[in-house]
Structure formats: structure tokens, C-alpha cells
């Protein structure tokens, strides 16, 4: 047996022994997802056990080094583990902005102490993180941010306001862009970490058109942040942020749909048989959907081997999010009047309509489609001009 086959067999055996049966059926909704953190309430004993076992094995973050809470798996082994989890239907033991976003940034820019401390907490699901980037009025123009950290020797005093902080009302800590030099637009921003329970931090959920409130406004009123809670150098937080935005884009570009190539048309066969023009739209969508899957596969293969242009994730983010919006327009069209229902049990509490509305943010958050097109045009196509 090759090393890979051995690893696959071991992983499979471990999963079969350790993943509780309840954790092998798909999560029903956001409330079924384990986000961890100080205030997280497990929905079931199985959820808790599954997290604990994965933490012990390093499988919440399998590809992170063992020193920082991971299992130290190679990319190849990580892929095999994911495949085996998918085969058994295992739920993700832990969802976390810490894993997806802060972790990779720490790995690249953090000190050894920070990696051990913060990445360990993330891996163990102890601290739930949120991200403080956007500000009212800054939008796509991130560097125009105003939140200011005044230098007080061994600490900063931060004042200002963030917006679009995902689940800020549920997060324990925030990683946050703060202006620490007003004279330099790009090189005057620092990447700070601080506890959401620090005096002066408050949050206010934003109600969205989908009726949900995954985002908050977050206010800082003389918040004291010790100097050691910075990632990277003072005033060079933009480098960290840019790196991290790339990761976010990869994540969001994966949102082009159901993660697979299953056609939504098949499930709606009876409706489409009578709707010739709508069926044609669905057919053209499926061509684009199959294309995007293949495109994503090619991108990942090129990315891993260092052949992809560094700005290519911007293209994927643009294509994937626009596709997902289109998909949800079609889901609504095919769903007809039932998909319009907002509260009824028949329409699953309006899930189609709410999802449809939620996807409208895909091409705004994490860099708008317009910004993505600017970046592709300037950096990949090397078009002239400012």
C-alpha cells in the first residue's frame, strides 16, 4: 500500500470510530453549525464530543502545524481527509473566521508566541473571532478608513466605528484595521487584535433585506489595546489585510453554488418541461456552472503549483459570485409563487427567498465585483491608467 493509501485507510478508520452518527447527517441550518467560542452553546452532546475529538487529533485545522493546534498534514493528506469526511458525510467540527482568515495571516505575519497562543485557541475552538475592516463611508475604498488608534506608549487608545463585522455580537475577539498614522494613507494602518469585552467596545446588529442579521455595526470608544496585540509591523497592517483579503476571496469564490455540479434543473424537471424559455436559461446557466467548477479546479491546481497569477483569485471571486446570484434568480423563477412565501412552513420559512436575497451581498462583500474587475484589468491584463 502506498503512503497515501495507508493514510486514507487510517483516516477512514479514525473517522468511523470517532465521528458520532448524529454528526454524519447534514446540518439543517446555521443553528446546527459549531462556531465555538466562549459563549457557544452546544446543540447536542454529539456536537461537543465531535469537536473535542477533532481538537485532540488536530483535525479542526488538519493542515496547521502540530505546534499550533493542527495535525501537521500535507496538502495531499488534508485533501484525502476531506474526501473521507465527505464520503461519510461528517460535518465540519468547527467553523471559524479564525481558521479561515486570521490563522493564515498569523501563520505568515505573526510572531512565534502569537502563533502558539492565538492559533492554538482557534484550533481548540476556544475563541470566536470577527473581522473589523469596513467602515461607514469606506466601502470598497478600504484605506479611506478613519478608526484611529492613538499612540500612548505601551498601548493604543482606539476610537471609531466599523461596519459589516460578521457576527460581531457573538464574537470573543476582533482582528481589526486601525489607522495609526494619519499622514500616510496605505502605510498608516495597523492590524490589531483585541477582546470584544474590552471596555468601550459595543455592537449593534444590522438587519438585512433577507430578514437576518449576520452583520453588525461595531463601536470603539477609547478602547485600550496593548502594543503586543499587533500582527506584523506598526503601520504595515495593509500588507496583512491584503493577504487576508486574498484568502477571503478564495473562500467566497467557492460560493459559486452548491460546491458541486449538481444541476438545480433536474430537481425541477416537471416545472421546466412546461417552461421552455426558462429551461433555456437554466441550460445556459448549467453550461456556466459546469464551466465554473472546471475553472475552479484548474485555478486550485495552478494556485497550488504557483502557476496562477497572484491576482487570479479576484477573477474567481467575480465569476463565482455573479454566478451564484444568477443561480438564485433561477431558483426563484423555478420556485414560482411558492418561493415568494416569506414565513410559511410550506416554503421552509422563506428559505429560497432569503437565500436569494442573501446572495446579493456576494458581489459586494470581500471586494465588490467592480473592484474585482478593476484589479483583474490592472494587474492581470495590465491595462494602463490610474
Amino acid at each position: 500500500m502506498s503512503d497515501r493509501e495507508t493514510f486514507r485507510a487510517e483516516a477512514r478508520a479514525w473517522l468511523e470510530e470517532n465521528c458520532p452518527a448524529e454528526m454524519r447527517i447534514p446540518a439543517k441550518g446555521d443553528e446546527d453549525v459549531c462556531w465555538g467560542g466562549r459563549n457557544f452553546v452546544f446543540q447536542s452532546e454529539a456536537q461537543k464530543v465531535w469537536l473535542e475529538r477533532c481538537v485532540a487529533k488536530g483535525y479542526t485545522v488538519p493542515d496547521w502545524p502540530k505546534a499550533y493546534g493542527g495535525a501537521g498534514l500535507s496538502p495531499q493528506e488534508t485533501k484525502i481527509l476531506r474526501q473521507e469526511m465527505a464520503k461519510l458525510g461528517c460535518r465540519s467540527p468547527l467553523n471559524s473566521f479564525g481558521i479561515w482568515m486570521l490563522g493564515p495571516a498569523l501563520l505568515k505575519f505573526g510572531t512565534e508566541e502569537q502563533k502558539v497562543h492565538y492559533m492554538g485557541q482557534i484550533a481548540r475552538g476556544e475563541i470566536r473571532w470577527c473581522q473589523g475592516y469596513s467602515e461607514p463611508g469606506s466601502g470598497s475604498d478600504l484605506v479611506s478608513m478613519q478608526t484611529f488608534g492613538e499612540d500612548k506608549g505601551d498601548h493604543w487608545v482606539v476610537n471609531g466605528q466599523k461596519i459589516w463585522t460578521s457576527y460581531a455580537d457573538k464574537a470573543d475577539w476582533i482582528f481589526c484595521l486601525v489607522r495609526t498614522d494619519k499622514t500616510n494613507k496605505y502605510q498608516g494602518i495597523s492590524f490589531l487584535l483585541f477582546d470584544m469585552e474590552t471596555a468601550g467596545v459595543s455592537t449593534k446588529p444590522i438587519k438585512l433585506i433577507s430578514g437576518n442579521s449576520p452583520f453588525c455595526e461595531t463601536f470603539f470608544d477609547n478602547v485600550v489595546v496593548p502594543k503586543h496585540q499587533i500582527v506584523g509591523e506598526i503601520n504595515r497592517g495593509w500588507d496583512v489585510a491584503k493577504y487576508l483579503l486574498g484568502h477571503e476571496r478564495e473562500m467566497i469564490s467557492g460560493m459559486g453554488g452548491d460546491g458541486g455540479v449538481t444541476s438545480i434543473g433536474a430537481a425541477m424537471k416537471a416545472t421546466l418541461a412546461e417552461e421552455s424559455v426558462l429551461r433555456a436559461q437554466m441550460a445556459l446557466f448549467d453550461v456556466d456552472n459546469l464551466t465554473f467548477r472546471a475553472h475552479g479546479e484548474r485555478f486550485m491546481d495552478e494556485w497550488k503549483t504557483g502557476k496562477a497569477h497572484p491576482a487570479y483569485s479576484n477573477l474567481m471571486k467575480y465569476v463565482g459570485t455573479e454566478l451564484n446570484k444568477k443561480r438564485n434568480e433561477l431558483v426563484m423563477s423555478i420556485g414560482g409563487s411558492q418561493a415568494l412565501e416569506w414565513e410559511s412552513e410550506r416554503a421552509n420559512g422563506g428559505s429560497k427567498a432569503r437565500n436569494w436575497l442573501r446572495t446579493k451581498a456576494n458581489s459586494i462583500e470581500g471586494g465588490t465585483s467592480e473592484v474585482m474587475l478593476n484589479v483583474v484589468s490592472k494587474r492581470i491584463l495590465e491595462m494602463p491608467g490610474g
Partner: protein, 378 residues
């Protein structure tokens, strides 16, 4: 007919525009939405519509109405759309009135006064599936006693649970899929065997799922001819479709104006975003689409008012085009507004929701494009 509004029509538009903007602006819609109003609209506003003569705009003068046409109804609907004003105007004063105009005097006398007074609401009970398929009516009406017994179910009956009467399409002959053999009935809300379940929609309108469990109606409940209901239904459909199209012109234009205003004020990268050429071109394209929609809707209304043979073709094209243009407008609107466009606090998302409902009402753009193709002979 010239494709411009007459002086009288312009006056009506000014009246409707001032009225909706002052009495039923988006804040009015929000108020009724946020109180979870079971009707989804204000009965007080409906009375005010009546005072201005709007509720009877299509009712013949001989019956006490204003005796106007689809262009005039559309003028009111456009302002309704622009302000998201919630009302039973489209279903009651447009679709139902067109049906009742074909009814005998007794029935007209029974229902027109209440509509004229802004007291009566009428629901249109046609749909039986999640997509619009008027010829696929399976609800049956069998002869029984002095009249008929109705059995079946209906969906997407907007304001159905708030209605005093439902116009129900049922099959008295023929097979599902045939246009012949349908009959339309006026069914009182209190009829035994009639039950409704209200469902709030994405745009906060309330639509009913209706069950007809052997509902007994008299012979004089028939609107038009027995087995010849398609003629009445066609009137309902054409008026409802062109009306929804007119409302979408209002929704799309309202969203567009709001968005263009935002482009002129919002700053990013030290520039007003309306300076960015990529957005300018999309704005100009959108403007062209909305102007096209406005034109085809006006054309369809004119042809209906003339009783022109091509009216049905143009109505289909108008519903399709208005749907596509309005949908583009709200999508561009939310995207160009960026993050705040996603918040419930801003109005643009409300326009997106309303567009979705209106697009679905009486057949979406794809359905009507298909009909255009069929009517064009391919």
C-alpha cells in the same frame, strides 16, 4: 394614437404622483409591513383611492365609474410602483373590474358600488400551481341544484384572505390544458366550503391558498358564459398583466432614480462614484432598458384600449420587457448601493422584493417571451 400622454392623462399623472408621494410613500408601506398587518394594505388608503376616483377608473361611466382605459389605470399603477404603495388596486380595480364589465347588470350592481366606494376588495383565484398556467385549470364546477358546486384549490391569490369576493376560474367542461370549458364564478367570502390560508410574501403582500370543498354557488354567480370563461379570463389576464407591467415600470423607475441619485452623492476613492465610466455605461444602458419598457407598456395599453387584434402580443411583450428591465434595475440598484443596499433600513431592497412578486404575477418574463414566440408563429 400618438405615443405621448394627452393633457388629461398628464393631469391624472400629476394627481396620482402627488397623492402617492404624500399619502402612500415607502414609509407608509414600511408602517404596514412592520405592524405585520394581516391585510398587507391600509383600508383607509383604499378609501382615499376611492375619493380620487381611482378605484373606479376602469368602471364604465354608466356604472358610475370614470370609464377610462388601461393607459389611465397604468398611470396610477406606475405611481403605486414608484412608491411601493400597498393596495388592492391591481387585483380589484383592474383585473376584477375587467371581468365584471362582462357580467350582467345584477352582478355589476352587486359589486361595482363597493369598489367605487373603496370598501370592496376582490381576489383573483386562478393559479393552481407555483407557475402561471391559466389553461391548466383543474378546479371543477359541477352542476348542482340551481347552480354549481366548486371543488379544487387555488394558490397565489393576492389579498385573497382580505377579499369580499373571489373570482374563481373552474372547469365546467373540457380537459385540463384546454381553454374551452372554463367558467368564471363570483364566490362570496363567506360561502360554505371555502377556506383560506394566508401566506405573507417576500414583498409583504399577503396571498392566500384557497380550498374549495364543494362550494355551492347559484347560477347567477357565473360571470360571462358557462363554458366560455376563457373570454372573461383573457380580459382579467391581459389587464392584470399590463397592469403589473405598468407597476413594474414604476418600481424599476423608482429604483433607478434612487440609484442614480446615490451615484451622484456617494464617494469612493475620493471620487463621486457616478464619475466612474463603467458605472456610467451601466446606468445609461439601464436607462435605455427602462425607457424601452415604458414604451412597450404604453403601446400595449393603447392597443388594448383600441381593442386592437395585436393587443395580446404586445401585452405579452410588455409584461416580459417590463419584468426584465425592472429586474435589471433592482439588481443594479442593490449592487450599486453596495453594502447599505443590503440593509433593511434602505429602501432599494424593498424594490427588489416587490419586483420579484410582480414578475411572478400572471406569468414571468420567460413565460411571456414564450407566448410572444408562439403568437409570432414559431
Amino acid at each position: 394614437m400618438a405615443m405621448t400622454l394627452t393633457d388629461d392623462q398628464n393631469m391624472l399623472r400629476d394627481t396620482a404622483r402627488d397623492f402617492m408621494a404624500s399619502e402612500a410613500p415607502v414609509t407608509h408601506f414600511r408602517k404596514f409591513r412592520d405592524m405585520g398587518c394581516k391585510d398587507g394594505f391600509s383600508h383607509g388608503l383604499w378609501k382615499q383611492f376611492a375619493e380620487l376616483g381611482f378605484t373606479g377608473i376602469l368602471i364604465p361611466e354608466a356604472d358610475g365609474g370614470m370609464g377610462m382605459g388601461q393607459i389611465e389605470a397604468g398611470i396610477v399603477l406606475e405611481e403605486i410602483g414608484r412608491n411601493l404603495s400597498p393596495s388592492p388596486f391591481l387585483t380589484t380595480s383592474v383585473a376584477a373590474v375587467e371581468a365584471l364589465k362582462l357580467a350582467d347588470k345584477a352582478m355589476r350592481d352587486r359589486w361595482f358600488p363597493g369598489i367605487l366606494a373603496g370598501e370592496t376588495v376582490i381576489g383573483i383565484a386562478i393559479e393552481e400551481g407555483v407557475k402561471h398556467r391559466p389553461e391548466k385549470i383543474a378546479c371543477v364546477a359541477t352542476r348542482s341544484g340551481n347552480g354549481f358546486k366548486l371543488t379544487g384549490q387555488k394558490q397565489f391569490v393576492v389579498q385573497g384572505a382580505s377579499s369580499d369576493m373571489l373570482i374563481v376560474a373552474a372547469r365546467t367542461a373540457g380537459a385540463v390544458g384546454e381553454t374551452a370549458g372554463l367558467t368564471l364564478f363570483a364566490v362570496d367570502k363567506d360561502a360554505a366550503g371555502l377556506s383560506m390560508e394566508a401566506a405573507r410574501l417576500v414583498d409583504s403582500a399577503v396571498a392566500a391558498h384557497v380550498k374549495l370543498d364543494g362550494v355551492q354557488v347559484d347560477a347567477d354567480a357565473v360571470i360571462g358564459e358557462v363554458d366560455g370563461g376563457w373570454a372573461v379570463l383573457s380580459k382579467i389576464l391581459d389587464a392584470g398583466r399590463v397592469g403589473a407591467a405598468a407597476e413594474m415600470v414604476g418600481v424599476g423607475t423608482g429604483a433607478m432614480d434612487m440609484t442614480f441619485e446615490y451615484l451622484k452623492t456617494r464617494k469612493q476613492f475620493d471620487r463621486v462614484i457616478g464619475e466612474f465610466q463603467a458605472l456610467q455605461h451601466r446606468a445609461a444602458h439601464l436607462y435605455g432598458e427602462m425607457e424601452g419598457a415604458r414604451s412597450i407598456v404604453l403601446k400595449a395599453q393603447s392597443l388594448m384600449d383600441e381593442g386592437h387584434a395585436k393587443a395580446e402580443l404586445y401585452v405579452a411583450a410588455a409584461k416580459a420587457k417590463a419584468g426584465l428591465a425592472c429586474n435589471l434595475s433592482v439588481r443594479e440598484g442593490v449592487q450599486m448601493h453596495g453594502g447599505i443596499g443590503m440593509t433593511d433600513e434602505y429602501d432599494i431592497g424593498l424594490y427588489m422584493k416587490r419586483d420579484r412578486s410582480l414578475n411572478e404575477f400572471f406569468g414571468d418574463a420567460y413565460y411571456h417571451a414564450d407566448r410572444v414566440a408562439t403568437m409570432n408563429g414559431y
